[in-house]
C-alpha cells in the first residue's frame, strides 16, 4: 500500500477537481460562459498527453542506449496512453468548439476546419498512430523495438512544430494565437484567474497520475506476458 500512495493521491485530486471545478466561481466571460470549466478537463488531457509522450520519449532513448527490452515496453505503453489522452482531448475540444466558435462566434464550418491548432493536433496524433502501425508490422522483436524507438523520437520532435509552434505563428481561433488576447494559454500567470489556477494545476497532476496508473497496468501485463524474453 505504501507504493500506491500516488494512486490514492490521483483519486483525491480528481474528486477535488470535479467538486470544486463545478461548484466554485469562475470568471464571467462572454462566449465562454460556463464552458470555461472545460479548462479542468479538456486542457488537462493535452497536458497529460504531453507528459506521457515525454516519458515515452525518455524510455525510447533509454532503450537505444542499452537495448533493454523492458524500456521498449515502457515507451510503447506510455505512448499508447498518451494517444488515448490526445484523442480524448480532441473529442472534448470538438464539443467545446461546437458551442463557442460555431454557435456563439458565428464561425463557419470552413474556418473551423482550417483551424491550424486542430490540423496540427490531428497531424501529431496521426504520426503517433503510425508509430503503432509501424510496431505492429514487425515480426522480429529486436528490430521492432529498435526501429519504433527511433520513430518515437522523431514523432516526439514533430509534436512541437505541429501543436506548439505553428498555431502560434499563424492566425488561430484557439487561445495562444497571435491576435488573440492570451499569450500563452494555461501557463501564463496573467492569462488565468488565480481561483481557476488553484484547481487547474492540481487537475493536471491528477489526470496525469491516472494516465500513469493505466500505463503501469498495461506495462505490468506485458512484462508478465514477456517474462521469458526479458531474461531477468
Amino acid at each position: 500500500m505504501n507504493k500506491s500512495w500516488w494512486k490514492i493521491l490521483s483519486f483525491i485530486i480528481l474528486v477535488y477537481t470535479i467538486v470544486c471545478g463545478f461548484l466554485l466561481d469562475v470568471p464571467r466571460l462572454p462566449i465562454l460562459n460556463e464552458t470555461i470549466r472545460n479548462m479542468y478537463f479538456h486542457v488537462c488531457m493535452w497536458f497529460g498527453m504531453m507528459i506521457l509522450f515525454t516519458t515515452s520519449f525518455i524510455y525510447s532513448i533509454k532503450y537505444l542506449r542499452g537495448f533493454n527490452y523492458r524500456n521498449d515496453i515502457f515507451a510503447h505503453n506510455f505512448a499508447s496512453v498518451g494517444c488515448l489522452f490526445g484523442i480524448l482531448g480532441y473529442a472534448t475540444g470538438v464539443l467545446w468548439v461546437s458551442v463557442t466558435w460555431v454557435t456563439d462566434q458565428g464561425q463557419s464550418l470552413g474556418s473551423v476546419l482550417k483551424e491550424p491548432k486542430l490540423i496540427g493536433a490531428a497531424i501529431a496524433l496521426l504520426i503517433y498512430g503510425a508509430y503503432f502501425v509501424l510496431r505492429g508490422s514487425f515480426t522480429d522483436i529486436d528490430k521492432r523495438a529498435r526501429i519504433s524507438a527511433v520513430y518515437n523520437i522523431f514523432a516526439f520532435a514533430l509534436l512541437f512544430p505541429s501543436i506548439w509552434i505553428i498555431p502560434r505563428l499563424v492566425g488561430s481561433l484557439h487561445p495562444g494565437a497571435p491576435g488573440s488576447d492570451s499569450g500563452n494559454p494555461a501557463l501564463d500567470k496573467n492569462d488565468m484567474d488565480a481561483k481557476m489556477r488553484m484547481i487547474f494545476y492540481p487537475a493536471v497532476i491528477g489526470w496525469t497520475l491516472l494516465g500513469v496508473w493505466i500505463a503501469t497496468l498495461k506495462i505490468r501485463l506485458e512484462l508478465f506476458r514477456d517474462k521469458k524474453l526479458i531474461h531477468e
Binding site: F22, R28, L217, F224
Partner: protein, 75 residues
C-alpha cells in the same frame, strides 16, 4: 433644504451603483439558475459516481495483476 438635496443625490448615486453592479452580473449569462436551485449538485454527484466507479474498476484490475505476479514469483 440643501440637506434634503444632498441626501437625494446620495440616494441617486447609490441607486446607480447598485444598478451598475447588477448589470455587470447579468451581462454574461451563466448557469445561475442551476446553481440557485441546487441542480448543479446532481451533476457533481453523477460525475463523482462515474469517477468512483472507474477508480474501483481500475483498482480491482491492479489488485488482480498483483495477485498474479505474486503467484508467479511463488512458483
Amino acid at each position: 433644504m440643501s440637506k434634503k438635496i444632498v441626501s437625494r443625490c446620495w440616494f441617486l448615486v447609490i441607486a446607480l451603483l447598485v444598478s451598475m453592479v447588477s448589470v455587470a452580473q447579468n451581462k454574461v449569462e451563466m448557469a445561475d439558475t442551476m446553481r440557485s436551485n441546487g441542480k448543479i449538485y446532481i451533476v457533481v454527484a453523477v460525475c463523482l459516481t462515474i469517477l468512483i466507479g472507474l477508480f474501483l474498476y481500475i483498482m480491482r484490475i491492479d489488485m488482480k495483476m498483483s495477485k498474479i505476479e505474486k503467484n508467479k514469483h511463488a512458483e
